[in-house]
Structures are given as C-alpha cells and as structure tokens.
Amino acid sequence: MMGVEKDVEEPPADRRQEVRTGIALSLAPGLGMFPLGIAFGLLVVQAGMPWWLAPALSTAGFAGSLELLLIGLMASGTPLATIALTTLLVNFRHVFYAFSFPLRVVRNPLAKFYSMYALIDEAYAVTAANPRGWTAWRLIALQVTLQAYWVVGGLVGVGLASLLPGPVEGLEFALCALFVTLTLDAARSSAQVPSLLLAGLSFAIAVVVAPDAALFLSLALFVAMLALRFAVAVHRGRFGDA
C-alpha cells in the first residue's frame, strides 16, 4: 500500500516516521470503523443504556461485532453464562490470526500485551495486505489509532443520539469495501488463486450449513482445507513456496 518494504526487521529507524506510517495505514479501515462506532454509540443510547457503556464495552472487549450484539443481550438481561458462550463463539475466529500477525516485531511486554489485546479484524487485515516492513512503533500506532476511531466514534454516537433520528443508512458498507480492496491487494499473484477458491468454497458451505455462524465456520473450514492442502503438497513431495 505504501512505504519501502523490507524483508528484514528494521533497525531503530525513525520512530516518528514509523508512527506516521502506522497512522496512514489506519486511515482506510478508519473510514469504516468511525461511522460504525457512531452507529454503535447511537444504539447504546437507543437501547436505554447509560452512555458510558459504549466506551466501557469498547475498552473491555475491543471487538466491534460482539459489542453490537451485546447491546441487545444486555438490554434483555441475558445471563452471564450465555454472554460468555456468545463471546467465545463470535470471537473464536481470532485464534487463526496468530499464524501471520507480526507480533514478533514487538519486544516491550506492555506493548506486546496491548498488541494482542487489540488484535481486531481490521488490524489483522492491514498486516495481511502489507506483510512486510512492520516495526513495533508502526504496529502499535496502527492499533492505537484504530481503537481511537472506534472509541471516539462511539462517544460521538452517544452525543448525537439526542440530536439525530438515526445513523445514515448504508455507511456500514465501508467495512465491506475495505475488505474487498485488501483482498485485491493480497491477491496480486496467481499463486494466491487456490487459497481464494478454497475461501470461497468454505464461505459458500458455511452459509448453507450454519447461516448464523457463517463467519466462524467458514474460517474453520478454510483452515482445515489449507491443512489438507499442505498434507497433499507434502505427500507429493512438492512444496509450494507460494
């Protein structure tokens, strides 16, 4: 997407430049996250919840889709055990992100803790589409900025709730558009075609088999298919380096 890409981990280059690059990489996801954060804040107030619940949820369980679900669950007094199970299922997809998220560039224990805590879909997606050149400062700057869009968006939504009848319909498409462009960026060579086809197949199966848990099931199927693909490649003695 931008900047000079290097294979090796960078020496302590210019920190300011790294922070700037991280923030620049956050702008596109921010275009989706900020409006969605506003919608989230509006929903919190419209559900009759106190305003501070928006920043509280966005800090405790920084995960947009779960937070949107929780508003309804909390408003109806859903038991804690059900909330725990919902959290486990909705956020389970994050276990797959450790395969390629560049956490290794972060050395400071606190920064490392934050980076794992703030490993949302959008942060993973940006690193997946730009696999090289990550440094601790760039990564943390990206993640802090993404959380700021979400939390500030929520606060703006809470503030707007008394003024507006509702959010602008259709703005949530920004997240879909973002993932489309990131997929295009990650799929530049024909070596990526098998992975794309397997992902499409996984999603199609998941939508038919479990329409309510399609995201989780399709990711699980996709990982299983890749493992099978790996086994086949090893068996044939042919090792794909793509």
Partner: protein
C-alpha cells in the same frame, strides 16, 4: 436500570475470553515458528481470510434485504474497478464504493 454487578460481570467476561482467544495462539505457535506448516499457513491464509471477511461483511450489510443485494453488488464493482484502475489508493476506492452504496440505498 442496569445492575452494576451485572455490568462488571459482562465486562470482565468479555475481556478475559476475547484476550485469551487472541493471545493464547501466539504462545501455542511460538515454539512452532520455524515449522514448515506454520510458515506455509502464514503465506496461504491471509488472502483467504480477507476474502471471507469481505464476503461476511457483504452479507451482513446487504443480506437481510433482497432489494439491497444488487446495490451492494454495484458498490463492490465500483470499489474494485476504482481500486484496480486508480492506482490502488485504498481511501479513494473505499470512499467511492461506500458513497455509491449510500446513494443507491437512500435515493432508490
């Protein structure tokens, strides 16, 4: 009114479970970092995960209402064409794609 104990319970639960799901896999994979399997998965996975996220957000945006499907389809086409012909400027592609969808949904 919300019971403070209930709110604290929810916050603690979602923090603990979400953090564990994000952090534990790193600890599990750390000793395997040089393994051929993990290295290969790291190369094969991202593009497919991104495609799944794109399909999933497409579905959650437009899937509820059959009348919105073609509008979202047009917006995805606009996003793709702008991205491939406009020099892969993500902000521009996402901005024009989203504007297309907002206009179609609100004016048609």
């Amino acid at each position: 009114m919300l019971d403070p104990g209930y709110v604290v319970g929810v916050l603690v639960i979602i923090f603990a479970i979400t953090f564990a799901l994000r952090a534990v896999p790193f600890a599990v994979l750390e000793p395997l970092r040089e393994s051929r399997f993990v290295l290969t998965m790291a190369i094969w996975m991202p593009v497919g995960v991104l495609a799944v996220l794109a399909a999933s957000t497409f579905r959650s945006t437009a899937g509820d209402d059959p009348g919105h499907l073609w509008k979202a389809g047009v917006a995805v086409a606009v996003t793709t064409i702008v991205h491939l012909t406009g020099g892969r400027r993500t902000l521009l592609s996402v901005g024009l794609g989203t504007a297309t969808y907002v206009v179609l949904v609100n004016l048609l």
